[in-house]
């Protein structure tokens, strides 16, 4: 389900959603904890199938795979967040996400699915600095507990910056 | 006794003739009654016949009276002698006086045997008493010795009994040990026998092994030669294949490059590419075949090498085997000799232990008998001790009896 979000550059990210009475998120599990991405970025949930590893690749780039004729990169967010590998078996679930011109597959320990939160449940992440909070857009408070919402664009930016010399 | 002269005279009461016979009759009656005192008064007898009878009667009476007087005197002296003898005997009896004799020096002939007899009796008693005294002393001493000995004997017997008992127990153990040894010896003998059989079988087996090894040696040489010939042929094939391989490889490369040019030329090079592809297929076929041949050659080489190695190993093994079989043969023969000795020895041991076992059994039996005998001896000794004690007591009594008689 897609929320009608307006892509405005607002200082408080959720203010872009101000006129709406709920925010759609897609929850997933990384590093044993609950994370989420904005549901609007998620295109589908798939099983990756065999992932072709690339030579001289950074740790967060697991490789490429064939998604219905389209070759997509596969990224492990856990490597960016904590330099830990998400254990991926053949046929692991991944979410196809698109952030601007960037389309890729994100692997996770588990994909929990869509949920709605009221804007009032959102709050700023802890002060930005080194560490995982660098990659958080905001924190959503839900019945099941707090949910760290990932800033996908930021993650891709940081990933590019960490490219290996070649 | 009244003397004859003092004999009363029986006078006739009457002067008649009957009265005179009566007087004779009276004296005769008195004589018959044992009264020899009366005489007939001959003077008063008138009848000459009666006078003669009366005188005869008076002679008879006188004679009788003398006779009687003589007897009475003899009797008296006899009685006196006897009284003395009796006194002597009484002395012996009452006071134990054996040292003397009767004291009767001149006994009447009548008494003489009696006195001699009594004197002999006294002498006999004397010597008997002396002997008795000595004997009783000896008996006393001996019985004391016997008692001591019997007591000693009793304790020795007890020791012996316990020693015998111990020995019996030890012998029983020895018997069972001997039994074990006998059994073991029997087992050893049996095992030795079996070992002999096995060793003989081993000997036979070794002989056949030796001949088999020699056969292998000969076979190994033949195999070795055959292998050599095969190797040479394989080598020749190998080198031919190498040449073919290289040619095929170059052809393949040529075809590849042709295909590459065809691909670069695009549409124009399509036909070229097809020809190149064909050529490539041919070259690949050749290469596949040569590959098969090469791998086959490789296998043959390996097999040949392996066989050569094996043959060499066999040859060496055969040699070693021969040596070892020889050694083994020697060992087996030594064992056989040793076993036969052992077998004999075992048999000897078995017999010996069997003998020992029966000997031991005999000893045990003897020990048991000895034990019984010892027990009997113990009882006997106790009895002997008791008897000796009794004897000692008797000897004492005898001694004291003998002491009652004075012998010197």
């Amino acid at each position: 389900m897609r929320s009608q979000s307006l892509q405005r550059e607002a200082p408080a990210p959720w203010e872009a959603l101000g006129s709406l009475d709920h925010v759609s998120l897609f929850a997933l599990r990384l590093l044993g904890e609950r994370f989420a991405v904005e549901a609007s970025l998620v295109q589908e949930v798939i099983r990756t199938g065999p992932v072709t590893r690339l030579p001289a690749a950074p740790a967060f780039l697991l490789g490429v795979f064939n998604h219905r004729g389209e070759i997509l990169a596969v990224m492990d967010p856990a490597q960016l967040l904590a330099e830990e590998s998400t254990s991926v078996a053949h046929g692991s679930r991944a979410a196809i996400v698109q952030s601007g011109e960037w389309k890729l597959a994100l692997v996770a320990e588990a994909l929990e699915g869509l949920l709605s939160v009221p804007p009032s449940a959102l709050e700023s992440p802890p002060t930005s600095g080194p560490g995982p909070s660098e990659f958080l857009k905001y924190v959503a408070h839900t019945k099941e507990g707090p949910l760290a919402v990932l800033d996908l664009a930021r993650m891709i930016e940081v990933a590019r910056a960490r490219s290996l010399p070649g | 006794m009244r003397k004859t002269s003092e004999a009363a005279k029986a006078s006739p009461r009457s002067k008649s003739g009957s009265g005179q016979a009566e007087a004779i009759f009276r004296v005769l009656q008195n004589l018959a009654n044992g009264d020899y005192g009366e005489r007939v008064d001959v003077d008063r007898i008138t009848s000459p016949q009666l006078k003669r009878i009366a005188a005869l009667v008076n002679d008879v009476a006188e004679h009788a009276t003398d006779q009687i007087r003589g007897v009475q005197e003899r009797n008296k002296s006899l009685r006196d002698g006897m009284q003395e003898a009796l006194d002597a005997i009484l002395q012996v009896v009452n006071q134990g006086e054996l040292s003397g004799s009767t004291g009767i020096r001149n006994p009447s002939p009548t008494l003489s045997p009696l006195v001699k007899g009594i004197d002999q009796l006294l002498a006999t008693l004397r010597s008997f008493t002396l002997e008795m005294g000595e004997a009783s002393l000896q008996i006393s001493a001996s019985s004391a010795e016997v008692l001591a000995a019997a007591t000693q004997h009793e304790s020795s017997m007890a020791q012996q009994a316990s020693a015998v008992h111990e020995t019996t127990a030890t012998m029983a153990e020895l018997k069972s040990a001997a039994g074990n040894i006998a059994d073991n010896a029997r087992t050893v003998a049996a095992v030795a026998e079996q070992t002999v059989i096995a060793a003989r079988a081993g000997e036979a087996a070794l002989k056949s092994l030796l001949s088999a090894i020699q056969t292998i040696s000969q076979d190994a040489d033949a195999i070795h030669e055959a292998m050599e010939r095969l190797s040479r042929r394989v080598e020749r094939i190998g080198s031919v294949v190498e040449v073919i391989d290289e040619i095929a490889d170059r052809s393949d490369l040529l075809a590849l490059n042709a295909a590459l040019e065809g691909a670069k030329a695009g549409e124009a090079g399509r036909g070229f590419s097809i020809v190149a592809a064909e050529m490539r297929r041919l070259a690949e076929n050749v290469l596949t075949s040569t590959q098969e041949i090469k791998s086959l050659i490789g296998e043959i080489r390996e097999a040949t090498d392996e066989t050569a190695r094996a043959t060499e190993r066999n040859r060496q093994s055969a040699k070693e085997g021969e040596d070892q079989a020889d050694q083994a043969m020697q060992s087996v023969q030594a064992i056989l000799a040793g076993i036969e000795e052992t077998s004999d020895a075992a048999r000897v041991i078995h017999l010996a232990t069997q003998q020992q076992r029966s000997a031991t059994e005999q000893v045990v039996q003897s020990m048991t008998d000895l034990e019984a005998v010892t027990r009997q001896a113990q009882e006997g000794a106790a009895q002997a001790a008791g008897a000796a004690a009794e004897l000692a007591k008797l000897a004492d009594r005898l001694s004291s009896l003998a002491r009652r008689f004075r012998v010197s």
Partner: protein, 129 residues
């Protein structure tokens, strides 16, 4: 172009592709040919039978490969560039794209670039010695 000619080769057990245009010719592999690249991001061929010869700045250089499997004409659609994130983050420019085949994805190797990068490795090692 609706089609592309690609050369399929293998190095150390993995199959790769290279554009036919990148390869001037295929040479006989040999152990002691000087100037041949025997180690790259693709690995090292244990038994190089062939060499892929490319023209680099006027001279011929070769990449040693185990086998040249064949030359194929494939639809252009089967050949994709690397996804941008991959292209920008991996430590080589020697992979130009991905060739989609029935059941596998093959790297489309930029042969001159690969040789260049591997030559730099060689020369930098040589300098260090």
């Amino acid at each position: 172009m609706t089609e592309r000619g690609i050369l399929l080769f293998s190095v150390d057990g993995r199959r790769h592709a290279v554009d036919a245009g990148d390869v001037r010719r295929i040479a006989m592999g040999s152990e002691d040919e000087p100037g041949w690249i025997r180690s790259s991001i693709l690995g090292s061929p244990p038994r190089p039978r062939r060499g892929l010869v490319a023209a680099l700045e006027g001279e011929e250089r070769a990449l040693a490969v185990d086998e040249v499997e064949g030359i194929e004409i494939v639809p252009a659609a089967d050949v994709s560039p690397l996804p941008r994130l991959a292209r920008e983050t991996i430590g080589t420019r020697g992979i130009a794209g991905i060739v989609v085949r029935e059941d596998e994805l093959l790297f489309l190797v930029d042969l001159p670039q690969l040789i260049r990068e591997s030559s730099k490795e060689l020369s930098s090692h040589a300098e260090d010695e």
